[in-house]
């Protein structure tokens, strides 16, 4: 409805303040007497802490205090938690090692904090942190899961024998064994999903104010979910009860998952602000971000896919080892299990699936959800093996996929998920048309004439968003429900405030959420204010991750709007002496159908608040709240096709074209959706071609701890994306939405690698496909030709 309702390309309301430098971020908060915090961090991947000598640091100018883990523990601050219980296949609970916000006797990864310095200025705090003398006693370290699982490997946590956190399984092993035994063809691959650093533009930060009179804390922090942060900080860390702790996540400059979690720094700053009796600020520098923001991915997987004589899939076996780093971050346990293995059916009808996932400690930065969180890893496994299988079977990769697509819905997979709606072939057709698939052989020949190698690759991804039905995730071990809340306040003069538990850190909620209100009540988006990110303003909510803010957050707003609309209609009907059923909302007015009688939203709102003439028994006011608990996950899906050209002399890969045909269900603002897809594709292409953590295996040092050595995608690494959508309406929520925030990062890496391996004629390519790796394979591919 209207030019600002659902489906309209409304320019983002929030961009004006962002692009004019008026955004207010955590680091913009400054308080009187505020001290600055610097952390003393371990240069060792694994070491005993024999002693900490702060005497020199304490004598330096401006230094107020040096606080250590022993003090923190003595004050009763609790260990960091992991919020999702996973049981091993033998029924035993996961083996979680203790994690204190400041390490006491042992450090387990480079960058782990052992002490914090409070000083008047940032520079003083940093200088003093360098003067804190820590006596380290180095221990052997392991950085890979293979090394950590070897007999005799260094033991990282006493709680996890052999460094095994859990050995989990899902699916029917016997059925898969039977399928393998009777298969006409089995395709097997060994692949690795490279470890990534999230790198949001704004690093993490915390500002804490403790009010001694009220015994009340205020925490400004870079969080995707301030209510969850408050819940965890109150319930587990013994710092303050919920009603004495206000968490504010103001403008946040990107998160990609890394700002879901409660980190040691926030816990330590809260505790320290009370202890030293002054407000505190900590802002991560970029190297700290590389070392301490939760990393993403880092799986190694062996997968086998069985086909019958008609090239239909009969069974899928997957063995994955996930590197968790040195500690279990807040949602880490769920990522390689319920967010990963439940998507291993892909877009395909698979009669039997069995997956075994081992989660392993190493002396590396903790790993948790990063844009896609398990689904990129699943998609990489499924879409690589489908492409390899098509090559082995001599089939067109699209044909093999088509033959196995799920075409009837709802479709129950062998791994929990029940797909509700989709048209996978429609996405393939849209993508093939956009990239001119039929013209590829001619383009390949033309490239070959120029001495270049061209390749084309598919990825037909499916993912699960809108996390998630609370009852379902509760039964799977989640520590919280995953509903969302909303409150819609119509003010006396008719302007509207929407309070949402979702949090916007780049997604454009202030625009899309206002568009929903515009659609429903016919008002302009400029009369709607979206309020989020402050636990004192907004009712409890679950926050933004897993592409859930549309399907879950907006559904809650929609439910609240239902109630507002219903009450407003009652008031309008009463005032116009009409039947409630005859009232229609049109263009911001309440009209009596078939007449010229109408009342504006302002008139109805004013009537609600003056309460001079309301229906008998009706409460004054026009404000309604709602909680929405989804009935199912949503299942965005699509087809990505990538075309690359390799220069065999240099190994340089050029992404010639990248087509994304996505089915996100109903779309509120196509421009914002396209922006989300573009960003996701950039991150996925970054993973496939450029990004990757490198640890020195012997010393456990992260050698890619700056932008000097960790390669982020830049504009000239990327083509002009061709983004298109197909639409099947999601039946699981009132708006028919599926979610678009992560799809680009989930679907794109296999398309890239499939295109590169097509061009190179070998499957032996790992991510990131750097020019050196590509060059070596291109040289190897040349040799037989040279011999001819």
């Amino acid at each position: 409805m209207g030019v600002e309702g659902i489906g309209a390309r409304v320019p983002r309301k929030e961009d004006k303040r962002f692009i004019t430098g008026k955004g207010r971020y955590t680091d913009d908060m400054n308080l009187p007497r505020m001290g600055r915090v610097a952390f003393v961090r371990s240069p060792h991947a694994h070491a005993k802490v024999s002693s900490i000598d702060a005497s020199a640091a304490l004598e330096m100018p401006g230094v107020d205090a040096v606080l250590t883990g022993d003090q923190l523990v003595a004050d009763g601050v609790g260990n960091l938690i992991c919020g999702w219980m996973i049981h091993s296949k033998d029924g035993s609970p996961m083996n979680m090692g203790a994690w204190s916000a400041l390490a006491t006797d042992t450090v387990r990864f480079v960058g782990q904090a052992v002490a914090m310095v409070v000083a008047d200025t940032y520079e003083q705090a940093r200088d003093a942190a360098e003067a804190v003398m820590v006596d380290w006693e180095g221990l052997p370290a392991v950085t890979t899961t293979a090394a950590a699982l070897k007999p005799g490997a260094p033991q990282i946590h006493p709680e996890a024998a052999g460094n095994m956190i859990y050995d989990w399984e899902i699916g029917d092993e016997a059925a898969v064994d039977a399928a393998m035994a009777s298969a006409a063809h089995i395709t097997k691959i060994d692949i690795a999903n490279n470890r990534l650093v999230p790198n949001p533009m704004e690093p993490r930060a915390a500002v804490v104010d403790y009010d001694g009179a009220e015994e009340h804390f205020t925490l400004w922090t870079t969080s995707q979910n301030p209510h969850m942060a408050r819940l965890v900080l109150s319930a587990f860390y013994n710092i303050a009860p919920e009603h004495k702790l206000r968490v504010i996540a103001p403008d946040v400059g990107g998160g990609f998952g890394s700002k879901i979690y409660v980190y040691p720094e926030e816990v330590a700053c809260l505790w320290a602000a009370k202890k030293v009796g002054r407000p505190l600020k900590w802002v991560s520098d970029r190297t700290e971000a590389f070392l301490t923001d939760a990393h993403g991915r880092d799986h190694t997987t062996t997968a086998e896919l069985a086909f019958d004589a008609n090239n239909r899939i009969t069974g899928f076996r997957v063995n994955t080892t996930a590197n968790f780093g040195a500690y279990m971050s807040l949602f880490s346990s769920a990522v390689p299990t319920y967010l990963y293995a439940t998507l291993l059916s892909g877009q395909y009808a698979m009669p039997a699936i069995y997956a075994n996932v081992k989660a392993v400690y190493t002396n590396t930065t903790p790993v948790d959800a990063y844009r896609g969180a398990g689904r990129p890893e699943a998609t990489y496994v499924v879409e690589r093996i489908m492409e390899v299988a098509a090559r082995e079977l001599g089939l067109d990769p699209a044909e093999l996929r088509r033959k196995n697509f799920v075409t009837e819905f709802p479709h129950q997979t062998p791994v929990i998920m029940c797909y509700d709606a989709g048209d996978y072939d429609a996405s393939v057709r849209a993508a093939q048309e956009a990239i001119d698939y039929a013209g590829f052989p001619a383009r390949k020949a033309e490239a070959a004439a120029r001495g270049k190698l061209r390749g084309i690759g598919y990825s037909c991804y499916i993912e699960a968003c809108g996390i998630a039905p609370s009852k379902a995730v509760g039964s799977l071990g989640a520590g919280v429900g995953l509903w969302e809340s909303a409150e819609v306040r119509v003010n006396p003069v008719g302007t509207i405030e929407v309070l949402t538990g979702s949090h916007s850190h780049g997604q454009g909620h202030e625009t899309t959420f206002a568009q929903l209100v515009s659609e429903r009540l016919g008002v302009g988006v400029d009369t709607v204010q979206i309020v989020h990110g402050d636990t004192d303003k907004v009712q409890f909510g679950m926050g933004t991750y897993g592409s859930r803010s549309g399907a879950v957050g907006m559904s809650a707003i929609s439910k609240a709007l239902d109630k507002v609309e219903s009450k407003a209609k009652k008031i309008a009907a009463h005032l116009m002496e009409a039947a409630e059923t005859d009232i229609v909302v049109d263009g911001g007015a309440f009209k009596v159908a078939g007449t010229d009688k109408q009342l504006t939203m302002t008139e109805v709102a004013l009537a609600a608040y003056t309460a001079h003439n309301l229906p008998d028994g009706m409460e004054p006011g026009l404000k309604e709240g709602a909680f929405y608990d989804p009935s199912n996950f949503t299942f965005p899906a699509g087809c990505y096709i990538c075309e690359v050209e390799i220069d065999p002399d240099t190994g340089k890969t050029e992404v010639i074209a990248f087509v994304a045909a996505d089915d996100f269900g109903r779309i509120i603002n196509p421009m914002i959706v396209e922006g989300q897809v573009h960003g996701g594709l950039a991150q996925g292409i970054g993973q496939a071609l450029l990004e990757g953590c490198v640890y020195d295996e012997e010393s456990g040092q992260l050698t890619t701890a700056s932008f000097q050595d960790y390669c982020m995608p830049r504009a000239d690494d990327l083509p002009s994306f061709q983004v298109t959508t197909t639409e099947t309406i999601c039946p699981g929520n009132p708006l028919g939405m599926k979610g678009c925030g992560e799809a680009g990062a989930i679907g794109s890496p296999p398309a890239l690698i499939n295109a590169l391996t097509d061009a190179l004629g070998t499957e032996d390519l790992t991510m990131p496909a750097t020019p050196e790796k590509v060059w070596r394979l291109a040289q190897a591919a040349r040799r037989p030709m040279a011999a001819e």
Partner: protein, 215 residues
């Protein structure tokens, strides 16, 4: 990281061996070396200040000698700590071979670096370490081959580290003074500052290792 190197020093092996056992000579040859002392017959302690861009750090290093086979070679193990800037630890096998009136020194070093050094400078360490090693041996060759007199080279008691140190002490005094002057000139030209970057921090230590290796 692993490093190998070979240097031809224009002095007889005995002379080289003795010079490598002289803390005063080593001190002059190690950029930024503030102190260097023997803590026992087979241990040395050193402090080296390295300033790289915005970071200045004092590395406290200790080196232990094993498999001493005078005058042919050593195995050494060392460790240096630079506080928050990082640390380095490692070892090296050093061998001295006679070649007429000259000596060919070869070493194979293996080192680990940690902290900011590893995070920000790991890519630069190999090349910087090599550069610093070259500089060290360049100076060393000048001092031992150019200035040193033949008599110090033939001093008796050279098989003992302590003896060697005492024997070359006087002879080296002038040489050391010259070397210091040259070092100042070099420093003025920026040889020890500027673009050598983070690697220097570890290099100080690695060099210590290499140097000591030669002791």
């Amino acid at each position: 990281m692993d490093m190998k190197g070979e240097y031809r020093i224009p002095a007889p092996r005995e002379t080289v061996w003795e010079a490598l056992n002289d803390p005063e000579i080593l001190k002059v040859c190690i950029p930024g070396c503030e102190s260097l002392e023997k803590t026992s017959d087979n241990e040395l302690a050193a402090e080296v200040t390295a300033k790289v861009g915005p970071v200045k750090a004092k590395f406290k290093g200790s080196v232990t000698f094993e498999n001493i086979n005078a005058p042919e070679g050593y195995t050494i193990a060392g460790e240096g700590k630079g506080g928050v800037a990082g640390f380095a630890k490692g070892g090296a096998d050093v061998h001295l071979a006679e070649d007429g009136e000259e000596t060919v020194l070869t070493y194979e070093a293996h080192a680990q670096v940690g902290g900011k050094l590893a995070q920000l400078g790991s890519r630069l360490i190999d090349s910087t370490a090599r550069k610093m090693a070259d500089e060290f041996f360049g100076k060393f060759s000048e001092i031992v081959g150019g200035g040193a007199s033949d008599e110090s080279a033939t001093a008796e008691g050279a098989n003992s580290i302590a003896g060697a140190t005492a024997a070359v002490e006087n002879a080296m005094e002038d040489v050391v003074r010259d070397a210091e002057e040259r070092l100042e000139v070099e420093a003025g030209k920026g040889t020890f500052g500027g673009p050598m970057v983070w690697g220097l921090l570890g290099l100080g230590v690695i060099i210590l290792i290499i140097l000591f290796a030669n002791m």
